[in-house]
Amino acid sequence: MTTTPESPPLPMPQPDATTQFFWDGVAKHELWIQRCQSCGHYLHYPKVLCRFCQSDDLAGERVSGRAALYTWTIAVQPFHPFYVDRVPYIVATVELVEQPGLMFMSQVVDCAEEDLRIGMPLEVVFVELAPELTLPFFRPAAEVS
């Protein structure tokens, strides 16, 4: 394995049997969230047991990718070598529309800092940070009636 000193290591996710569906979805530019097949609750982060009904019948399902901005912070200090030259960026926690309290932490892109406000509608957008690394970020969306 060779690495060049010029290119920092990528912060590659390490999927496991419980989370593979999520990254498979990302590869198709689709947002998939784990859902209990017994009681219907969504779960994030993915787990091996539904904490609402204790069923282990869990499966990934595609969701709309629509969300509301819950909060954000402007990351100005990097904590991973990959992000040293990428600050500032907007780290945000969003609430997916599928279920109250179904939170997803990501980045918000295509939005000026002064335009951020809690509750603003967002939609998922898949951003290729490197050929090997695509992530689901969020960007402002039109109001949904």
């Binding site: 912060p11 590659m12 996710p13 390490q14 999927p15 496991d16 989370t19 994030h44 982060y45 819950y70 909060t71 954000w72 912070t73 402007i74 990351a75 100005v76 200090q77 990097p78 904590f79 991973h80 070598p81 990959f82 992000y83 040293v84 990428r86 500032p88 960026y89 780290v91 945000a92 926690t93 609430e95 109250p100 309290g101 179904l102 939170m103 997803f104 932490m105 990501s106 980045q107 406000r117 809690i118 690394l133 992530l135």
Partner: protein
Amino acid sequence: MATGQRVAIVGLGYSHVARNSGLTVNDHVIQATKAALADSGLTMHDIDGVTSVGTEPLNDAWLLGIEPVNWWASGMMAPAFSYSAVQAIAAIASGFCHTALALRVIQQQPSSSALVKGAGANHPMTSMLHAAAGDRQFLTPFGAGSPVQWAGMFTQRYMSQFGATEEDFGRHVVTQRYHASMNDEAIFRDPITLDDYLAARYVSKPLRILDCDYPVDSGSAVIFTTEERARDLDQPVVLVDSYALTAVRDLNFEIMSDMVHTAPVATAKSLWERTDLTPGDVDTAQLYDGFSIIVFQWLEALGFCGEGEAGAFVAEGNTRLGGSLPVNTDGGACNVGRRHGANFCIEATRQLRGQCGERQVDSAEVAVFTNAVGPFAAGAILTRG
């Protein structure tokens, strides 16, 4: 009133605390414990229980010569020192042991710039921040996962929800520094102004460097015992009136669905349910300040002010020495350095003993100390015995 035997705090001690102390973890354990024993008038042989966050309590007990050990407990991802404190209190109240040593020892973390350059490649903090397995596969790739980032998000949500301002947090930071100016043990003692605060750099906007506790090597020790034993010692007696430990979810701060009402709400509810005292009875509050927003959450959770009113409460001078509720009278962890909560227990006890000199709260009879925010929290209400 808490059930079981009444528990007292009888010994307080710190090691030599510094950004780079040059001391080992064992040095901090030994120095802090000896200081707490000297403060209490007890000997090592009087201790029969040990708890620690940051070290292995049985190794500490063996090192120190504590035997037999009738009770021990350890915790890593816990509400810091207050976890050790409430465990020790519960162990004595139940009769599990009679005299417990509670420790919090911290080795300094490498700086963030050193971490991203790989200088601290073998440090646990580096492996945590760079790991992308398990739950962290949903943090690290996204450029998140540092505590300052959830703290920045907690702060932003609070500001957006209640219209709070950066000046609100700044006034709190200025007040704490004023208190530190009267504390010989504080690392930062030069008073600052609101302008100084607003000129400080952001680490995760709106969170500024002055909103963060200061990383140091530190060892802290507190000795708890029964009220009966405490009355035979020379120090003024300080009693535990109520205590609580609460978790509201797993350890993931970043996906909490309510970042305003977090574990301190549940902990405060338990604290008040277990006492006849009320918020109006409290003379001084020592509230964990790992980040400024945590102090605001505790002020509101404990009912010292209304929801979203912590900024105004601070601006009115309530939290300043001489105000209605002096808060963090030692200067807080932002100024005395990261004792990870132990300083709040120690300062609360010193205030009730009347040993705080220039920064003494007049006729302090009731104090509260707390730790943590988000998923878990702990704290206790103390009275002069």
